[in-house]
Amino acid sequence: MFLRRILPKVLKATVMGFLWFFLLYALPKLLLSELVEEVLPGFTQMLSTFAIVIVTVAVISELLAGTIFHYIFNIGKTLVLMAFFIDALNGGFIAFDLETIHIEADLRVFLAMLLVIESVGLVKSLLKATDFLAKKTERQLAFLD
């Protein structure tokens, strides 16, 4: 009985973990060549740190599906992603050197777009949490009646 209940959660958590790992670490590593590490030293290290945090939070969140903690971890995951975007884009101002050429890019508009998306995701997670609590309360009230 316990296994039947926990196994789908573990499976889903594993799939979600792999998915997030692929999206946050494997895919960027695949797309961004070694040049990125030369241009922005420490980027791969930062990417792997954030990938570990996000994958851990995503796995825990899936394991706790059906509880309020699932939504809390989802909100946490969104906040960590927002922090990652701000840190990765250095607050919107990126500067690096390509041999003797110095390049500065102002990516604040791009960062704002990413943060808006994550904010929408955050609102969605909050609404889901509220919905979950409302339904739980309704069930408890129905049980008391």
Binding site: T100, I103, F110, L114, I117, V120, K124, L127, T130
Partner: protein
């Protein structure tokens, strides 16, 4: 509540698709921009005490977005002193368009004569910072800069004057120098010979001369009228089509 959550889910998905599309197309488009030097000799002009070198170039915007607010700035520094700062503004280059522009580098000779006189006589290194600022896709401001060291060629390099020690009347002197500059010299040089008490004892002016850019040693003959028995100093005055300058004092010890 369910509908609102679903709507937010769709909105997130659509936003993500738009952002990814935008990112990919921006990177692709940026790789389609070409900046070419036009195969024309740079034009050198003189006006208001400044030499301006006009370099033609073209920018081809083969990308999907416009290039706007494009500024090219050159900052030239010699011995921590600004020699020139020139900015060329290029109007918006729409996607698919090619802009043919001229980039001007202006060096103020008045400024050199007033503050950097040694540059007339000594070759020196110029630190040149070229920076290109632009806004891409009306959303991403970019600044690309590059530092380079250029050689400044002095127009009167290795300037020397030769006056025979015991001169007949009139004396035949010679002024020699090398024009290492990128511009030609057209004019005359005046000489005033002073004695030890600072009194004028002789003078002369060269014939009008033209020395092409980057010319080897040039020697100009001057006939000096006066008694040069007690000469102590020579004051040189340069009158060229580009600038006038003097006196440059050379002592005979």
């Amino acid at each position: 509540m369910k509908h609102a959550i679903r709507a937010l889910g769709w909105a997130t998905a659509v936003f993500w698709i738009l952002v990814i599309l935008f990112s990919v197309t921006v990177v692709y488009s940026a790789m389609q921009i070409r900046m070419n030097r036009v195969e024309e000799e740079p034009e050198v002009t003189y006006s208001n005490g400044a030499i301006t070198m006009s370099i033609p170039f073209s920018i081809s915007n083969g990308g999907l977005y416009d290039i706007s607010e494009l500024n090219i700035t050159t900052h030239v520094v010699a011995e921590n002193e600004t020699v020139s700062r020139t900015t060329t503004q290029v109007p918006t280059i729409s996607r698919g368009d090619t802009a043919n522009e001229t980039y001007d580098i202006s060096v103020s000779l008045d400024h050199i004569l007033a503050n950097l006189t040694y540059m007339l006589f000594i070759d020196t290194d110029l630190e040149v910072e070229i920076s290109v600022a632009l806004t891409y896709a009306h959303a991403i401001p970019l600044k690309i800069s590059h530092n380079e060291t250029l050689q400044w060629g002095a127009p009167f390099y290795n300037l020397s004057i030769n006056i025979p020690p015991v001169s007949p009347q009139p004396a035949n002197a010679s002024v020699s120098f090398e024009n290492h500059a990128f511009f030609g010299l057209n004019g005359t040089i005046g000489l005033q010979i002073m004695d030890s008490s600072g009194e004028l004892i002789g003078s002369g002016t060269t014939d009008r001369f033209y020395v092409p850019p980057r010319a080897p040693s040039t020697s100009l003959q001057v006939t000096i009228i006066g008694d040069l028995g007690d000469m102590a100093e020579v004051h040189l005055y340069f009158y060229t089509s580009v600038f006038s300058f003097g006196p440059v004092v050379m002592s005979f010890d």
